[in-house]
């Protein structure tokens, strides 16, 4: 949960740091093609987010697997 905490607290404070950004490549690419890139970015964010969640889930299960394996190994005298 710690990376999520960090990310969320950054998100909440980030606007204070980025008050006046100059228009540049980012605006250009966001507005091009009838603003379709805004949709691309949003979909990318969601897929990345769900992907990160999958990784954290995977890590939890791996830890569980190790714990289950430990007493089994010691019972077999390894």
């Amino acid at each position: 949960m710690r990376p999520l905490l960090l990310l969320l607290s950054f998100l909440v404070t980030a606007p204070l740091l980025a008050q006046d950004a100059a228009p540049g490549w980012l605006e250009d690419s966001l507005y091009r093609g009838g603003k379709i890139n805004a949709v691309v970015a949003v979909v990318a964010v969601i897929i990345l987010g769900i992907g990160l969640w999958m990784f954290s889930m995977d890590r939890k299960l791996r830890r569980l697997e190790k714990e289950i394996k430990k007493p089994f190994d010691s019972a077999q005298g390894k």
Binding site: L8, L30, A38, V42, I46, L64
Partner: protein
Amino acid sequence: MKHWWWKILAVLLLLGASVSALRTPLSPALVHVSPGRIAPGPVELTVTGYNTLFEQEGLAAHLENGGERLCATSVEALSPTVLKARFDVPQGFRESLTTLAVLDRTDGRLVMPGALFTNGTGSGAGISGCPEPNEELGLTKAFAFPNRAILYESIRNLCFHVPMWFAMITVMGISVWKSIRTLGSNSLDDDRAALQAVNVGLVFCALGLITGTVWAKATWGAWWTNDVKLNGSAVTALIYLAYLVLRGSVQDAHKRARLAGIYNIFAFILLVMFLFVVPRLNAVDSLHPGNGGNAAFSDLDLDDRLRRVFYPACMGWILLGVWMYDLRLRTARLQASLDR
């Protein structure tokens, strides 16, 4: 099969809704006119359309101002998306903003309200002889999303950004339900369920915030504005982060369960307040659709075309959220049974 049907449903809904949200074309619209200012005398306007199919045959253009209609002296289709229209603008239009309308065979009537600043206004131009437009044109249209100025293609985000919040509210609702049960039953398993639901809810909260900032940048020109809805959602995120902090600071499991349960009830009430009640108060202004006297996508622009994709998308994301909560809870239960 009993355990699987709603998960399969979730995947199918997400697949269908995402593909249609990305592939449905936008309806044709006028997006640009140059020059943007007209004065009495001959004027030549270059009009740019989006997803339009201008063709010379049957093409017409007119200006509308204060209930008066002025037909173009000539219209010329340069390409399917660009046309040139010439007008003889009379003296004395009533209003300072003139509406431009284009009529063509495939797209029907396309309107750009208040498109032109108007000089030389007066008490009416007294023009006549421009026939009523034929409303029957272009009625057999394919399924398309509304094409709104400023939003354009980004209107598709409605089917991605908003369902994040729907999913978050659903799992937070599960969480508060489990918290109330914890207070009654003193069961650590209910408490575990409440915690895992908040964990999943925060994932959707983070996704909702990030996708919201991207969409805000594309439509409002800023990543963040001091809008009630935006600040409310940020405060909600902080309230739920504080829930995790509170849990971390209490050692005794039963005490933690009761404290967290009580806090969670307050947190959910604040969530409802900050996301639904405060932004809708008449006293506050909000840029965000659906708040502060601001129309959501439902009235002028949004008939049922977006809804037909939006509701399945919400349903799919809600089911996915519940599924994620289910996985988290089962993992936490396994962990707990190992720790015992």
